[in-house]
Symmetry: C2
Subunit: 397 residues, 2 copies
């Protein structure tokens, strides 16, 4: 769900190898699609942009491309740095680079910002060419299917006829599933990490509280805050604070913060008192400066709507019937947002559909955000799986 913004200042005792040497400076590119795109909601986008980054090189057979899909608050900047002075690299820098699971010596990695995003792809902060106003909340709610269809055009532009793999964590893992279902010929492998086949009522409930926090902020102005030079700062901050609680395990919170008091004593007031309050407020307020509230609303809806079995009489195996991809599923023991059982439901459906599936449940401590962390076993499993794919590409299979 996150983009790695969780970790600055953290004290978790996980050994994190430096991701700094790997990618160097990367430069985003813009793909412009001048043709209309029909969306799941029935509306038509007359044209759109996708901002994206690539790492590694496309081989001559154009069969070593991997699509990396970001999660709720992520973007196209998955690895490397934008400037020599960047404080931190892209959100999946531990996994993309020479010798890493997504090895840039072997794969050509493509990471777009999804439609509806707020980092350069067409979304609520873009100008609607038909009205010449900012889209704001008028930007249509998009689904993972719409993302597949829009990113399909990017693949065409790049001359990619088939992804060696589509990979992502959380919402990104759901998108990988959607690719396998909607574009079976284009998806050779789907790497689905810390995901679920659909949200639970509790997941939707958390999203709904986050949305209400944003929408009920008077500075939201019905979604037209930008035109009024306002930001629904309080609402977006609350949404992010709440999200963070669900990204971390209870144990990780205990180990990181316990009940430690910031000043060492109770102050009998409502200022920051416990360390965990300070952490959450910091995470909330820094998020507001780098993420758009309308995009947050929209992407929580994309999550709520994801339910591939819905079209198939709620039988997930039926949804997978025409899939040609082999799957790697990875879950984390401490993830309570999308617990291992949710990955195991996907595995069972794939097996019932007679598909190829590998599954690893990684022992972990942090919670949902572990999909961003270079846990040894996780890296090993992911690398081994990707190396087999690369070997096959290089053998010209």
């Amino acid at each position: 769900m996150t983009d790695g913004g969780l970790h600055p200042g953290a004290n978790v005792s996980v050994s994190i190898p430096s991701p700094c040497q790997t990618m160097g400076i990367v430069e985003p590119k813009i793909f412009h699609s001048p043709d209309p795109l029909k969306l799941s909601c029935g509306k038509i986008l007359p044209e759109f942009d996708l901002i994206y980054e690539t790492y590694g090189r496309l081989n001559r057979r154009r069969d070593n491309a991997v699509l990396v899909c970001h999660a709720l608050s992520g973007n196209h900047h998955a690895a490397g740095f934008h400037h020599p002075n960047d404080g931190k690299p892209g959100w999946w820098a531990h996994f993309i680079g020479s010798g890493k699971p997504l090895d840039t010596n072997r794969f050509f990695i493509v990471c777009p910002n999804h439609l509806g995003g707020c980092h350069g792809s067409t979304g609520p902060m873009s100008v609607d060419p038909q009205t010449e106003r900012l889209y704001g909340t008028d930007f249509p709610i998009v689904t993972t299917r719409d993302w597949v269809n829009s990113e399909l055009r990017l693949a065409e532009e790049l001359g990619i006829k088939r992804w060696a793999a589509v990979a992502g964590g959380s919402l990104g893992g759901m998108l990988a599933m959607q690719w396998a279902i909607d574009q079976p010929e284009m998806t050779a492998h789907a790497i689905v990490i810390a995901a679920a086949s659909r949200l639970s009522a509790q997941n939707i409930a958390f999203n709904e509280v986050a949305r209400q926090a944003i929408i009920s902020d008077p500075d939201f102005c019905g979604g037209r805050y930008a035109e009024n030079n306002l930001l629904p700062r309080r609402g977006l901050m609350l949404a992010r604070m709440l999200g963070h609680i669900t990204y971390l395990s209870d144990q990780a919170m205990r180990e990181r913060f316990g009940r430690e008091l910031r000043s060492g004593h109770l102050n009998f007031g409502f200022d920051v008192e416990f360390q965990v309050e300070s952490y959450l407020r910091h995470q909330g307020s820094s998020f507001v400066d780098r993420f758009d509230a309308n995009t947050y609303l929209l992407m929580t809806k994309t999550l709520d709507y994801f339910d591939p079995a819905g079209e198939y009489g709620h039988d997930l195996a039926q949804a997978f019937a025409h899939v040609k991809a082999a799957f790697l599923l990875i879950s984390f023991s401490s993830d309570w947002r999308f617990a291992p059982e949710r990955s195991e439901e996907i595995m069972m459906a794939l097996l019932r559909a007679n598909k190829s599936v590998s599954y690893a449940r990684i022992e972990s401590e942090l919670g949902h955000d572990d999909f961003l962390m270079p846990i040894q076993e996780y890296v090993a499993v992911f690398s081994a799986y990707m190396n087999k794919i690369a070997d096959a590409c290089e053998a010209g299979a």
Copy 2:
């Protein structure tokens, strides 16, 4: 944490015997303490009121009194009806009455609204006699110890020298623990249900998001909303919505709401769409009309501050060293807010302190709110324990 407000319109398949016949019409009384009360924060309340209800009759030896302690959003109205047309009885009506665990034929039950409350006891909505203004956020943050000290005066007023039992769920269970620790001579039994010996970092984090939702609502006016004829409606609603998610188990939410759509189809907008959203918004908005935001802030702090082991080198057994009460601890298998492990920590500490303790882990489905539900095994255990106490009282032990 709740007062039973969760359940109207619910579809959970739990058999609920009608609590309606039991208590009839009850009338709250006011106890006025004209003497100053020194609080844990160091401040002094010059005088205070406690509103309370009683059920059953105090016996001649005055040894059959039970103190019932309400939780975060509860109040003194634990059983019976206020008017013949009342839609629902007090919050613990399943447990208080003839033939129930707190049998009104045998016990004299006392239930006060805690200091800082908003239903008649002195709190943020009261007038500060020193300034003749509403207290608002100037009302001091009170602790469970302050509640013991204030309710001790009510006991004196009623001529009660020793509680046969102090009983409560959630925050109410914490208060029962505090009584046993602070007033060992006055507490014969402590009934601690769905509680914990202190909040986890995750619990504090949820409380902090709820507080920030209230405080950041522009209509909060720094806590002086009442004087401005305003209500921080949005913030308090968000706080309550969030609370509700933590009161219910994931399974209960799944069984009750699943992913059912209110209109039967996706509407691609931000209006209520899933049943769970409708439920949460209803719970949030109805809460605003019956609960004060400053009291909500204050009582979440009372929860955060509860940590009896803190004064004893973080050794809970030491905190219990001088306790004379026997304990009954009850936890619920589906409670993830204060999971059974939290009750078992208390049990282990009591055993290490060589105290008498009975413990029941009840198989349940709803979650934390099960402490309000008449689950057969729960009622049976609670009744059996209370009957032993009543037998002893009646034998003149």
